[in-house]
Symmetry: C2
Subunit: 200 residues, 2 copies
């Protein structure tokens, strides 16, 4: 069975950086929210278009057939939301079946539970998350301390809601993870090579 590492993370905790570096260290595929969203979008646009992409990016090779949602749906919005989730879930499953990989976000820990992924959760204290956000902020962003704090909290609330809606579990509950890493006092770049040895 493939080596699958899923990463849940708080906003600003550096979970994506950790996931990316870990995949590089291990030489395995890497997927995150943006990549999966992009694949899903392209898939639903045109199968053929995706095929063209695939031919030039062997790492992401797949024939994708977007799953259909069979939920009895009350509203078209809900139906569409469920369809997006289902589509992404299908992509995640196919990716994980294809090769070793690191997947950040998207409830991958839950979606792939039958494949027994190694589930990491990355978190940090608010001060350290704010510092990281400042460092990575797009040029010209001028949030006050208070606004930044609110933004981080709002993002995490959104993630928690998303996770709980699709999995029925509490987001960030340590019992749903194999390892929880507090990056408050950690230099991710230095820690990842050590962490990678867990998977060799």
């Amino acid at each position: 069975m493939n080596k699958i590492i899923t990463i849940g993370r708080e906003f600003g905790s550096g979970g994506r950086e950790l996931g990316r570096r870990l995949s590089e260290e291990l030489g395995i595929a890497y997927y995150d929210q943006e990549i999966i969203g992009e694949i899903a979008k392209r898939t639903s646009l045109s199968e053929q278009y995706v095929q063209t992409i695939v031919e030039h990016q062997p790492l992401f090779s797949f024939p994708i057939h977007v799953g259909r949602s069979f939920y009895p749906s009350a509203s078209p919005v809900l139906e569409q939301t469920m369809a997006v989730y289902q589509g992404q879930a299908q992509i995640i499953t196919e990716m994980a079946e294809k090769s070793d990989c690191v997947i950040v976000g998207r409830c991958a820990d839950y979606i792939l539970k039958e494949m027994k992924p190694f589930r990491i959760f990355v978190y940090a204290d608010m001060e350290s998350k704010m510092k990281r956000c400042r460092e990575k902020a797009p040029e010209g962003e001028t949030l006050t301390e208070r606004e930044l704090k609110q933004k981080i909290s709002a993002m995490d609330k959104k993630r928690a809601k998303y996770y709980e809606f699709y999995t029925g579990y509490t987001w960030g509950n340590k019992l749903n993870f194999d390892l929880c890493i507090n990056t408050t006092q950690t230099v991710i770049k230095e820690m990842v090579p050590v962490l990678a040895n867990l998977f060799r």
Copy 2:
């Protein structure tokens, strides 16, 4: 400053085994509830007696002066309880000042916070904790599944109460730890050598 690793753990999660193995792997001192309790007991019994012990166990060398509690105390029982805690806290601090060490339990993460210990929390799901307890049970112990589950829950409740009483923090909250390790699917013996590299 010394390398100090503190370990909080759920009952039956293998936290003590993990701590012991980690100290062996790193070649540093190891203290847990029993050892600290024993030292405290001996200290309060007779300074000279302790000195004799010390001469034969250089790893645990110290001159110990048990701290006095200055809490305004409502009852002699509370006063005694606080004195025991204070005594143990004093021992833990002196040990941590003396050499690199792993300390399991006893709120060491909180007591030593000024020394910035690396704080690990070890946990597992109930089924796995029950399995570990069965394997390590004293001969002749014949608890039913239900009784064992109750015992584990009761022990953890006791630990939570102890921790919260002395620190004011919620026990097992991941934000109070640098790393939380779920031992449910982990072979501790295999994982410790990898973990040890974080401290080299």
